[in-house]
């Protein structure tokens, strides 16, 4: 991966504790899977930053390479890739997501 792009991605992950790379925005998700993760993050009271990859072709490809993950949404907490829609939803239902979010936001 291009070094400049890697630095750009790590800059975003370093600036925000919780980042969701998604299709659309927090208020207007443009895909059901992205909408689901936004909803889950609201349910755990997460303060999160979103990046609309539909408006950024460089990041749309870059995040696929960075995470070795071919689809969106992609959720990152504390700079680490947590998963896509299926995994995030399962973690929420299993009670695993809340502690990770709380820890990242210093609420633990």
């Amino acid at each position: 991966m291009d070094e400049q792009l890697r630095q750009r991605i790590e800059g975003i992950l370093g600036t925000h504790k919780i980042v969701l790379f998604m299709k659309g925005t927090k208020s207007f998700p443009q895909c059901g899977f992205s909408a689901t993760v936004v909803e889950v993050l609201k349910r755990v009271n997460a303060d999160f930053h979103t990046v609309n990859i539909l408006q950024d072709a460089e990041l749309r490809q870059g995040m696929k390479d960075y995470a070795s993950w071919p689809t969106f949404p992609q959720l990152y907490v504390d700079g680490r890739f947590v998963g896509g829609c299926d995994i995030v939803r399962d973690m929420f239902e299993g009670g695993e997501l809340q502690p990770i979010v709380d820890k990242a936001l210093g609420r633990a």
Binding site: S68, W69, T71, F81, G84, I87
Partner: protein, 84 residues
């Protein structure tokens, strides 16, 4: 578009120890699939790592022909427990 048999074959050839592969065409359009993959190699991996292994097996299929893949991965033990 890609045939479900192709998806299964790609997974089996990249991950020879896979025990169960179930591919379901969710929309009848051969581009939205659901896959269940059971493999002992998933032992000790996180869910993310398990899914990454399947995505790696599918390679460029994920970059166009397959638009969506709902993925469920299990170790043989977890699979047995799930199916009681």
């Amino acid at each position: 578009m890609v045939e479900p048999e192709t998806v299964e074959q790609r997974i089996r050839s990249a991950m020879p120890d896979v025990e169960v592969v179930r591919i379901e065409d969710l929309t009848g359009t051969k581009d939205h699939y659901q896959a269940v993959v059971v493999s002992p190699s998933f032992e000790g991996m996180t869910r993310v790592e398990q899914h990454q292994a399947v995505y790696r097996a599918l390679g460029e299929l994920m970059a166009g022909p397959v638009h969506a893949l709902a993925l469920q991965t299990y170790t043989p033990e977890a699979w047995k427990k799930k199916n009681g």
